[in-house]
């Protein structure tokens, strides 16, 4: 059955390419957008078919004698196809109204269609070559999409180079890992690879290579440097797709490796995944909390959420050998819930950032403000997305984090000392991440939407066109929906992992049978509504007697003339944090005081500039690049133009070969 689904998607891709190339300019956005949305929906259906066990096989002929290149999604692949298809559909609908300038060109639409289909095929592939083919197609099409606005900003080109280089590194690592495994198993089918998980040095090597490869694609900390560069430069609907869908394939790979291909009880592997996840979560959200560019903030928050997912995977593979299998399964379910929750709220946030960018032309939080009255729908949906990202109750984020925390605290530390140490540290890291996420998204929402506009662009903002609002509302609704009825998402997640639906309960709530913990958001919401009624009644009564009076000046402790520039900006909002975490953020601050020309003691202007560096970049990447550059420079005098040198090379080679051949 799923092979028909995949065929439909490929047919729709062909249609999308034709429509993008041939449709008249003014119709192109609508038609292409709808066809791409069609691909997304077809993805959702195929995913659902795979989840409900209707697997089918579709083989693609390849010239080289590899073995059949097959596309038949397992339930786990189906789950990710479902998530990516949904995100793709929402972003496609949104992009109909959003695309302008180079993003509306033919190449961008073709690349978007190829990008979405490639992601679906990665999740649908059942053998190494299909996986790698779809993986690289996804990389190529996303590079083209990131390059859409290369003529507008100089930073796009350098960002794309970082992105292309890191993606190629991830591809090579995954290729090496799979090559080791296929050498071990003697075939390139996932089924055979899964069967041959021997615990040898080769499988350790394969595990590290695959983990690093998928971590590079997912944006895990040591390999995350491309994420805060590529996402802000891409058009917003593309950054939404990349952040909400593409990085999930890194998580898909990690889950595939830890649960099917290389299942093993060696604790150092799970500690590696756990450690890397924790580091990414804390470091990602720390950088997000001090970022003032809205898209860079969202990109770093993606690193944080991916870190939490890897933490969940690490925890589950750490717990499994110590007998508590249902706790380990719950951790995996938590990981998949995190995937769905992050897909929902990150899409909302990026699409919201896109509509802000389109309305105000600004991406820097320090120049926004006062949009809540000018762009009601965007601010409402962005608010819901921010609630989800901050994991506050009644949203998808909260449910995912709750299940994760439940699985961590029921870790059963009594049996093993390592668990007794790692579980509390993990809970502490998750908590710190949640706290900083709270801070980040209050800052993002508060500075961007509330108070008075801090720039010309922000003051003339208008609400975005219908298709963008439709996309935003659907995404925000999914954040609340997944939050209020978590039973559905938990059953889907546990079916994806092949656990049956042990963990779902009636009335939409979750009943983690193994852990004895239950969560019913529905009744909680009812209780809140019951409690809010008297408060509202009192307020309305008071309002009728004493209506609100408008004054032309806020109190401001003395009614001093208050200009928008006196308001707190994103940089100042995060200043206490950058001071507390200064050893890992390395802020460089300089204050420039310009005195007035007449009198030296009168100050004309004070400028405060702050630059935060990414410690991984400055400590790890720049030295490596420096070494490569020096090697490049040194290699230049190998080819110095003198023919005698070249002849000397040949002569030495001749002598060496003679020696080798005779001795």
């Amino acid at each position: 059955m799923t092979d028909t689904g995949v065929r439909i998607q490929l047919a729709l891709l062909a249609l999308a390419v034709v429509v993008a190339l041939l449709a008249p300019v003014h119709r192109r956005a609508l038609l292409s957008g709808l066809v791409v949305a069609g691909i997304g929906i077809a993805g959702v259906l195929t995913g659902w078919l795979a989840l409900t066990g209707h697997a089918g096989r579709l083989t693609i002929p390849v010239a080289l004698p590899f073995g059949p290149v097959t596309l038949s999604p397992a339930p786990l692949g189906g789950f990710f196809m479902l998530v990516i298809g949904a995100v793709g559909a929402v972003c496609a609908v949104y992009s109909v109204g959003y695309v302008h300038g180079p993003a509306a060109s033919r190449t961008s639409w073709v690349a978007l269609a190829v990008f979405l289909t490639a992601m679906q095929l990665v999740a649908a592939s059942a053998d190494v070559v299909a996986f790698l083919l779809a993986w690289e197609l996804m990389a190529l099409s996303s590079t083209v999409l990131v390059l859409t606005e290369h003529a507008h900003r100089a930073t796009v080109r350098s960002a794309t180079l970082w992105y292309a280089a890191m993606t190629q590194l991830s591809f090579f690592l995954v290729l090496l890992g799979f090559a080791v495994l296929s050498a071990e198993a003697g075939s390139t089918q996932f089924a055979d690879l899964a069967a041959s998980h021997v615990d040898s040095a080769a499988s350790n090597l394969a595990f590290v290579a695959l983990l690093l490869g998928f971590a590079a694609k997912a944006g895990i900390v040591p390999l995350h440097v491309w994420l805060p560069r590529a996402h802000p430069e891409a058009p917003s609907h593309v950054s939404a797709l990349m952040s909400a869908a593409m990085v999930k394939l890194g998580v898909y790979g990690a889950v595939l490796v830890t649960t099917q291909l290389l299942v093993s009880a060696s604790t150092w592997r799970s500690l590696l995944v756990l450690g890397v996840g924790t580091l990414s979560a804390v470091y990602g959200i720390l950088q997000a909390s001090v970022a003032s560019d809205i898209k860079r903030l969202l990109a770093f928050s993606t690193t944080e959420n991916i870190g939490l997912m890897f933490l969940a995977i690490g925890a589950s593979s750490l717990l499994r050998p110590y007998g508590s299998t249902d706790v380990a399964d719950t951790a995996l379910v938590a990981c998949l819930l995190l995937v769905m929750a992050h897909a929902a709220f990150k899409t909302t946030l990026f699409l919201g950032a896109g509509s802000i960018l389109r309305a105000t032309g600004e991406r820097d939080l320090d120049l926004l403000g006062g949009l809540v009255s000018r762009m009601p729908v965007t601010s409402a949906t962005f608010g819901i997305g921010a609630l989800g990202a901050a994991a506050l109750p009644l949203t998808a984020g909260f449910v995912a984090e709750w299940v994760l925390l439940q699985s961590l605290i029921h870790g059963g530390g009594t049996q093993n000392r390592i668990l007794a140490i790692t579980m509390p540290v993990a809970v502490g890291a998750v908590a710190l991440t949640a706290g900083l996420a709270l801070m980040t998204f209050v800052k993002a929402y508060g500075i961007a939407f509330l108070a008075r506009p801090r720039s010309e662009g922000a003051s003339q903002a208008q609400e975005s066109p219908t298709s963008m609002r439709v996309g935003l509302v659907v995404a925000a609704a999914s954040v609340l929906g997944l939050g209020l009825v978590p039973g559905l998402s938990v059953s889907v997640a546990s079916r994806a992992l092949g656990l049956g639906d042990a963990a779902a309960a009636g009335s939409g709530g979750i009943d983690l049978v193994g852990l004895g913990a239950t969560l019913h958001p529905g009744p909680l919401l009812l209780l809140a509504l019951v409690l809010v009624v008297p408060v509202v009644v009192v307020s309305v009564a008071a309002a009728r007697r004493r209506p609100r009076r408008d004054v032309d000046l806020a109190w401001g402790s003395g009614g001093v003339r208050v200009s928008p520039r006196m308001q707190y900006t994103a940089t100042s909002y995060a200043e206490p944090l950058s001071r507390i975490f200064d050893d890992s953020l390395r802020p460089e601050r300089d204050v420039v005081v310009t005195h007035s020309s007449e009198a030296r003691y009168l100050v004309e202007r004070i400028q405060y500039r702050q630059r935060l560096s990414d410690v991984f970049e400055s400590r790890l990447y720049l030295p490596v690049i420096g070494v490569i550059e020096r090697v490049g420079a040194a290699a230049k005098n190998l080819q110095n133009g003198k023919i005698n040198f070249y002849l000397a090379y040949s002569f030495v080679a001749f002598l060496v070969v003679l020696m080798v051949v005779t001795l």
Binding site: I60, P61, V62, A63, L64, P65, F66, G101, V129, L132, L133, E136, L137, A139, L140, L147, H150, A151, H152, R153, A154, V156, R157, T160, L161, A164, A165, Q168, L169, F172, L175, L176, A179, V180, S182, A183, T188, I628, E629, V631, G632, A633, A634, A635, K636, L638, Q639, I643, F645, Y646, L647, Y649, S650, A653, F654, V657, L658, V660, V661, T662
Partner: protein, 490 residues
């Protein structure tokens, strides 16, 4: 049956004589295209015969065509067609007097076809040396000081390197004389248990490999390649980079097949791994700080030949098939990108990377084919180089050469970063560097959409590279037979 083998050679001879004799303008202009068309057609015809099970021979055994030859001949024809047709000079610019250039191109194609068709290793050597001779004046065609320097280095280094191969072939012949059956014919040499003396064959193998490695552009014998390919006219460097390197490597494959049967794969595998890794390392390092587009492309050829050498070192049906497909894919993509670089030189006046800015916005007609071809060379799907690189790595690990491939992949990443950076610098960015474009992206008049030359060859070449990866059916059988012909069985 044998007439098909003689057809390409005779046609090229006829064409060459016609060019020299008749000195017509149109003949001068289309000579190259006609010659490569003939080679391609005869290659495909031989392929159909070979797939039918026959191995035609001609001139009482001097020429023979097995699956490998058919594949290589078609490759020579295809790449030749791309280069000559793509690099076709503007209608008015060829004069009747300039007959030397087209004649040499036809001679060059003749030499390569002979090399591929020859069954006798001696004739193979003579043909490869003939390619150096015919391209000497083509490299020096521009008559500038640097072209002259490139030509001198090319001839000296090329001939001296290949002389080592002659020494190897002579020793091989001596070994056959000592074993009683004096022959240089490849078919004869491939007969089992000829009783050749292993010591002699080992020495012959090493020297021949080193000699042909010079023409194949493997390090450390590659120093002539960047100068020759950057100074030669676009279509010549396209031909040389695209298919001459592969024909030289075809020689190595033939000799490897013979010697592996006698002394086992150990020696050739070691030498090929050393040559391959050195090539990829040196190419990667030198691409990083490269300042000239054509030199960068030349180094990329060295890198790809290094990858092919590794594939040959790995051996086995998958790796050999991947090596052959890699030769075809690389040939087509490289000749297209050299043709485009020729057009860039003609239009922009320079191939210095620093001098080319924002091609995508100013000259999309040149930037789009450049980017497509570079994507193919960087190993992006759906182009065939992606499949071959994956196949080589997987085959490498399956046959126990994991560490070599890991190092190679690391070096390929360095080369990828270098190539991607330079291509990005040239193609992308704002049109007017001094101020950001305001309002509309570009007034349309400064955007030059013309392709400055025929489009069809570039479309065809890149199209074939994109499709051939998925082409099962007859093509895959040809590839399988070619790999088996080389004794890829072990």
């Amino acid at each position: 049956m044998g007439v098909l083998l003689i057809a390409p050679l005779a046609a090229c001879l006829l064409l060459g004589a016609g060019v020299v004799g008749l000195r017509r303008t149109w003949l001068n202009r289309y000579a190259g295209v006609l010659a490569s068309a003939v080679v391609l057609v005869s290659g495909l015809a031989i392929t159909t015969q070979v797939l039918g099970g026959a191995t035609p021979t001609a001139l009482d055994g001097l020429l023979r065509a097995d699956a490998l030859t058919a594949f290589m001949l078609s490759a020579v024809g295809a790449v030749g067609l791309t280069a000559t047709w793509g690099g076709l000079a503007a209608p008015g610019s060829t004069s009747a007097r300039a007959y030397a250039y087209p004649a040499l191109i036809v001679a060059f194609l003749l030499a390569m076809s002979l090399a591929v068709l020859a069954d006798n290793l001696g004739i193979l050597w003579v043909a490869i040396e003939a390619t150096t001779i015919t391209t000497a004046f083509l490299v020096g065609h521009h008559r500038t000081r640097t072209a002259l320097e490139a030509a001198w280095k090319y001839v000296i280094l090329g001939s001296v390197g290949v002389a080592i191969a002659l020494l190897g072939i002579v020793l091989l012949y001596a070994a056959t004389v000592a074993a009683g059956g004096p022959t240089l014919s490849w078919v004869a040499l491939m007969r089992p248990n000829l009783g050749l003396d292993p010591g002699m064959v080992k020495m012959a193998a090493g020297l021949t490999l080193l000699g042909f490695a010079t023409k194949a552009g493997l390090a450390p014998m590659h120093s002539w390649l960047p100068d020759a390919h950057s100074q030669a006219p676009a279509e010549v460097s396209g031909l040389m980079s695209g298919v001459l390197l592969s024909v030289a490597f075809y020689g190595i494959l033939r000799v490897q097949a013979v010697t592996d049967a006698v002394i086992g794969p150990g020696l050739m595998r070691g030498l090929l791994v050393a040559g391959g890794l050195l090539s990829v390392a040196e190419a990667g390092a030198l691409i990083l700080r490269q300042r000239d587009l054509k030199r960068m492309l030349a180094y990329s050829s060295i890198e790809h030949m290094g990858v092919i050498a590794l594939a040959a070192a790995v051996g086995g049906p998958l790796a050999i098939g991947a090596a052959l497909l890699h030769m075809l894919g690389h040939g087509l993509a490289k000749s297209s990108v050299f043709v485009v670089s020729g057009r860039i030189l003609a239009v922009e006046g320079t191939t210095q990377i620093a001098g080319l800015r924002a091609l995508m916005t100013r000259r999309p007609g040149l930037a789009v084919p450049l980017l497509a071809a570079m994507a193919a060379l960087l190993g992006m799907p759906p182009f065939v180089l992606f499949f071959t690189e994956v196949a080589i790595v997987v085959a490498g690990f399956q046959r126990g050469m994991g560490w070599v491939l890991t190092v190679a992949v690391g070096l390929l990443l360095v080369a990828f970063i270098g190539l991607a950076r330079h291509t990005g610098d040239m193609a992308f960015g704002a049109a007017t560097v001094d101020e950001e474009p305001t309002g509309s992206v570009e007034p349309s008049d400064t955007v030059d959409r013309s392709w400055h030359g025929p489009r069809l060859p570039l479309f065809a070449a890149l199209g074939v590279t994109a499709v051939v990866g998925f082409a099962a059916g007859p093509f895959a059988d040809l590839l399988g037979q070619a790999a088996r012909v080389l004794g890829g069985g072990q």
